[in-house]
């Protein structure tokens, strides 16, 4: 809105006068003249609100959202339903126009919600303490590796299953580069499982931590015996077991990381109530054992009370954080993902245990149906046995070609795994959720039947 308020100009002039300058230019007099801008920046605008919404609407219409296609992409960002109530509650200005709750007396809404969020993360993951969010699952994993380095100083090897999301592994590589660690990434086996034997033999007394994702990047529900033995093996060398869950709706069904020997859980919260939004903002989850609390990065909300004994919540243990500890902090994180955490808290409250289990079962069931139907198409091979809601299809042609054909038929196909690794060429990662209707699955099967 740019309607000039009545008398605004006069008011501004009075203020300039009050401040003791004669013009706006004089407010900037200590900026050397040669670097003060003389004219306008070369920028478009200003647009009226109706012009703006038209322009953005037209840009948005050049994209193909999941709602306008039969959609089979997952791989770290998932097309689950977000409830209307979730969307409308996080649009309350009291939530989204507040800042970090540094003043607890004026921020009890955010603080209590964050305390609830931490509780939900603990209960989902089976861990003892959770922080109040990281940027995304990938940076949460990198922070977990850095945390393991602080807990096991002097060790220089990190062992990562090659069935961890390739972009997560890439972020770990960039963020730990200054430490000069030896990152051992163990290629998965031919049925898209973690290669447990190679993993175990890589663990040495010099290993700070072991990283596994479950369900893994390819959708495989990792072998429980393999997980158990890996946890035991890394604990034997006194390293830490980091377990990542990216498709976190799986936690509605599967045994939680806390019961699988995890020392640090990291996860992606997006499947639990955030739109895909072209990959961001997402929501990093992190939880650990109480014994490791002081080395955990990120903000923490704790319970307290006022002088009358009334319960209230505060940011706590901030001596771990950058604004107090500066270069000796556990992390540099300041702004986090509070509103995303709130959305997930609300969505989990709406779902309840039954609702979350239902989402998980429906997603899993839709994937099973798709797998069964696709396996009937000559030329397509599906080597996996135990998956959650994603699976790999071996294709006779490049998946990119298939995707282009499918796009013409209003179908967003799977992910070409060849983009990450030449050895994964001609493999195609597909995903289903509770929104994958039998009609859309049939549409995919029929289209592939025509193309192949």
């Amino acid at each position: 809105m740019d309607l000039q308020r009545d008398g605004e100009k006069e008011a501004l002039e009075r203020m300039l006068d009050f401040v003791g300058v004669s013009s706006f230019e004089e407010l900037f007099r200590e900026i050397p003249e040669q670097i003060r801008l003389q004219g306008d920046l070369h920028l478009p605008g200003p647009l009226k609100e109706w012009e703006l919404t038209a322009r953005l609407g037209s840009m948005a219409s050049r994209n193909l959202p999941s709602s306008k296609a039969a959609h089979f992409l997952g791989a770290g960002c998932y097309d689950h339903h977000v409830f209307s109530a979730t969307k409308s509650l996080i649009r309350r200005g009291e939530f989204f126009t507040a800042y970090t709750p540094y003043q607890p007396e004026l921020s009890q809404g955010t603080l209590q919600a964050m305390f609830e969020f931490q509780t939900y993360v603990c209960r989902l993951s089976g861990m003892e303490v959770a922080n109040s969010s990281m940027y995304d699952g990938a940076t949460a994993l990198a922070e977990a590796v850095l945390m393991a380095q602080r807990l096991r100083p002097g060790r220089s090897r990190v062992v990562i299953s090659g069935a961890v999301h390739p972009e997560y592994r890439a972020v770990v590589r960039s963020m730990t580069d200054p430490l000069g660690l030896e990152l051992l990434e163990i290629e998965p086996d031919l049925s898209w499982q973690t290669h447990w034997e190679k993993l175990e033999t890589s663990l040495t007394p010099n290993t700070s931590c072991l990283v596994v994702q479950n369900p893994n990047f390819f959708g495989t529900i990792e072998d429980q015996e393999g997980l158990r033995r890996a946890a035991e093996a890394v604990h034997k060398v006194e390293g830490l077991f980091i377990l990542a869950v990216v498709e976190t709706t799986a936690l509605g069904l599967l045994k939680p990381p806390g019961e699988l020997g995890a020392d640090i859980f990291v996860g992606e919260g997006q499947p639990l109530g955030l739109p895909m939004s072209f990959g961001g903002p997402l929501l990093g989850l992190m939880a650990t054992k109480e014994a490791f609390l002081r080395q955990m990065p990120g903000r923490l909300v704790g319970q307290s009370h006022d002088s009358t004994g009334k319960r209230g919540f505060v940011l706590t243990l901030s001596t771990r954080e950058q604004h107090i500890r500066r270069e000796r902090a556990t992390s540099n994180i300041c702004t986090n993902q509070a509103l995303c955490a709130l959305a997930v808290t609300i969505q989990l409250a709406l779902l309840g245990s039954g609702g979350l289990r239902e989402i998980a079962l429906r997603s899993k069931e839709a994937a099973r149906q798709a797998m069964d139907s696709l396996a009937q198409i000559p030329g397509l091979l599906i080597p996996q046995r135990r998956v959650y809601n994603e699976f790999v299809v071996q294709t006779p042609v490049e998946p990119g070609l298939l995707n282009r054909e499918l796009l013409n038929k209003g179908i967003v196909g799977g992910l070409d795994l060849g983009r990450f690794n030449p050895a994964w060429k001609n493999n195609w990662l597909l995903c289903c959720t509770e929104k994958s209707s039998p009609e859309n699955i049939q549409k995919l099967v029929a289209a592939l039947g025509e193309v192949l």
Partner: protein, 507 residues
């Protein structure tokens, strides 16, 4: 509880009806399962996962939609926000968050778009990113911008990784980063993550970086100077040209923390001041909401010499088409999954278009005028350690009130009773008892006037009734909370199976 603590009626705050509300886990939800599953015969037995893989217990309460909506609506009412009132939190730029930006980000074509969708299906999103990069480059005077960093601190980390890669590429890795003593805590923390040793530079008696202090610390091992301009005292670094030239001559780079760009946008560009890298906090300068602590977005602008080291992927344009490119051998690699906080980028893009170049300059001018208005209106009662023109914020101290035993914290808490969010307190560290006030351009002269009256009234109270200030706040949902107890025996999650007491508070 109110009585004589209630401030005069012409101020902002008044008592109101606030609801008690227990934790969501104390609402006593039922344990019913999704019965729609039964009809379709989807069950744990039929899904082909061995029993021992399944969890036995999922201790999450089952509530009705109305219970949930009421619960979080009540919680929201316990928050102070920009929508509720004046929020002069220094360094955070709590400006108004236009509603049309929210609508833009929630358009189906943006919100329901998958990051791995085929490139033909995401042309609108890539075009927006490409244009936003160019707009931010123009605003800061930089050659190239990456939109990937999730927040300011994440951009600092990204930038310092690039600084490290730059020196390594030249065959001369460097170890030290110079950081002024007035810097944000994220600056040294980000440098430490990149393996740099932090060398603190003292500010001079005028609150500025002096060329002398810099030059005495400059050597062949200094990788960069990391500064904030205007600095955290709200003062423009007057020697910036001389200083950046000195750093460059010694082979170092200049990183600018762009937290304070609301003082410069449309008036001057850090790229013209010798800065090699600068990040922008879209949630500060470009009006995207703070969200109760995030998500933000921290695009990073760099000069051409640093371009090869930018993180991947990068948006590229060929003809009329856009794509994402990953093949840059000198890149520091990937710093987060996918491409940054796209939903936040849409909001900032909408803001820039709605303002235009003139609107951006007007915003900066008003923000600076407002800060100076508060400075002049309060400096007779509140100690002003650096008394001259400020930019978008000014820093007072509690020195005058401390004589009566009233500290910055007390002043902050008492402001709540008047209906204002307090300023940032005890930062920057170089001002003892700091009160850092940033009004932004959004506020009207009337609101600023009320804030001045409140601050003056508190100064009077500090002298005449200090206990009233020391025991504040009196009108908030809870009184001062025991932070020491919270840290000593941390309770960070609700205990299992706790039933609500009749009053909604634990007994």
């Amino acid at each position: 509880m109110m009585g004589n603590h209630e401030p005069p009626g012409f101020f902002e705050a008044e008592g109101g009806l606030l609801f008690r509300e227990p934790l969501i886990f104390e609402l006593g939800g039922s344990k019913q399962k999704g019965d729609s599953l039964e009809k379709e015969r989807i069950s744990e037995e039929s899904i082909g996962i061995p029993e021992e893989y399944l969890r036995q217990d999922l201790p999450i309460p089952q509530l009705t939609e109305q219970q949930v909506v009421r619960h979080y609506t009540r919680l929201s009412q316990w928050n102070f926000s920009v929508d509720t009132g004046f929020y002069p939190l220094g360094s955070c730029t709590m400006k108004y968050n236009p509603r049309v930006n929210e609508e833009a980000a929630s358009l189906e074509g943006f919100a329901s778009l998958h990051p791995y969708a085929p490139v033909e299906a995401v042309q609108g999103a890539l075009a927006l990113m490409y244009e936003l990069e160019a707009m931010l480059a123009e605003i800061t005077g930089m050659d190239r911008v990456t939109l990937q960093p999730a927040a300011g601190a994440h951009a600092e980390l990204t930038g310092m990784l690039m600084v490290r890669a730059y020196h390594r590429e030249l065959g001369k890795p460097r170890k030290k980063v110079l950081i002024p003593d007035s810097a944000h805590g994220t600056n040294p923390a980000s440098c430490a993550l990149c393996g740099f040793q932090v060398v603190q530079v003292p500010s001079d008696e005028r609150g500025l970086l002096s060329p002398r202090e810099i030059s005495s610390r400059l050597d062949q091992d200094v990788a960069a100077l990391m500064l904030t301009n205007p600095n955290t005292l709200g003062l423009f670094e007057e020697h910036i040209l001389e200083i950046s030239e000195m750093v460059h001559r010694a082979g170092g780079l200049v990183y600018c923390d762009g937290a304070n760009l609301n003082a410069l946008t449309g008036v001057a560009r850090v790229g013209d001041m010798g800065v090699d890298l600068v990040h922008m906090n879209l949630h500060k300068t470009f009006s995207t909401p703070h969200g109760g602590g995030g998500p933000g977005a921290g695009p990073l602008g760099v000069k051409a010499s640093l371009e090869p080291f930018l993180p991947v992927p990068r948006v590229a344009k060929k003809g009329d088409g856009f794509s994402l490119q990953e093949d840059f051998p000198k890149s520091i690699g990937r710093i987060k999954a996918f491409y940054g906080h796209f939903g936040v980028l849409v909001r900032a893009y909408a803001y820039l278009l709605s303002q235009g170049p003139g609107g951006l300059r007007e915003a900066t001018r008003k923000a600076v005028l407002n800060a100076n208005y508060l400075r002049v209106a309060l400096k007779d009662l509140y100690h002003l350690p650096y008394d001259r023109l400020c930019k978008h914020e000014c820093v007072f101290s509690d020195r005058n009130q401390a004589r009566f035993g009233v500290q910055a914290l007390d002043i902050a808490k008492r402001l709540m009773d008047y209906g204002f969010h307090p300023p940032t307190i005890y930062f920057p560290l170089i001002v003892k008892g700091a009160l850092m006030v940033e009004p932004t351009e959004s506020e009207t002269p009337e609101t600023l006037g009320k804030f001045v009256e409140a601050m003056r009234s508190i100064a009077r109270e500090a002298q005449e009734e200090p206990e009233k200030v020391r025991s504040a706040p009196h009108l908030t949902k809870v009184g001062r909370l025991d932070e020491v107890a919270a840290a000593r025996r941390p309770v960070l999650a609700a205990p299992m199976a706790k039933a609500a007491s009749p009053h909604g508070e634990p007994s």
